[in-house]
Amino acid sequence: MSPGLFNDWIVIFLMMTGFYTLITRGNLIKKLIGLGVFQVSVFMLYISMGKVEGGTAPILTEGVVHYSNPLPHVLILTAIVVGIATLAVGLALTVRIQEAYGTIEEDEIRELGGIE
């Protein structure tokens, strides 16, 4: 139980919070926000893996020897942008469901015969 894992544990806590929101909440927008929380916590996991003790940001400068790992940063930049794309599509679907059923609560849609 070393303190070196504190970051990982907070990340797992956040991940599980997002997961819980995702599976228990009926409101579709709330579900998407839960998904977002989950996503950001995965980003944190990657970024904290890339950190090097005593390192600095990976921008080449004179007189700096240790840099943090740039690879997770690149991956997460891509992931953030893909995340916003999925969020946009999800919200568009939600708006469409609101137009078709008049509600965005999962159980009410089910009562209307939307989901079997």
């Binding site: 806590f13 599980m16 929101t21 930049l77 969020l87 137009e99 609560e105």
Partner: protein
Amino acid sequence: MLLLAGTALAIVLLRDLFAVVMLSAIFSLLSASLFVLLDAVDVAFTEAAVGAGISTVLMLGALALTSTREKASRNFQLVPFLVVLLTGGVLVYATLDMPRFGDPQAPIHQHVAPRYLNASMREVGVENVVSAVLASYRGYDTYGETMVIFTAAVSVLLLLGGGRKRSRTELEPPEEAP
């Protein structure tokens, strides 16, 4: 980090969706400042611009078209909670094998990253290694990413544009009102 945890809990518990959207913007901003602390400046400003900016605007737009109030349901559900607890427990068990935070000997720092750090100045000529990898070594990934954005934009346009036309012709008036 504890602030982040508190914000996340508030997101789960609050029912007013407007407040929840604002909290998720705060969550993004807090995580952006965390990324600065972890030396990921590029990620931090992308997260601040995209996570706290664009996604909040999108959410508010969606809220304006739907409702801002979440229906009251039971606040505590046992089975999902147990599932979440179990998953979390397994993940915590898995972290026990992870390298310690900031350890320079961790496997992730041994393989490709040193090559990028040493050679990118000679091969690409940009001081910022993240940009060098993003635009040059992994240029195809970035190209694929723009394709994803394009697809997303097209599907949003199809979903919303087609929806308005259909709701004018097929649906009854009460369901049209946002």
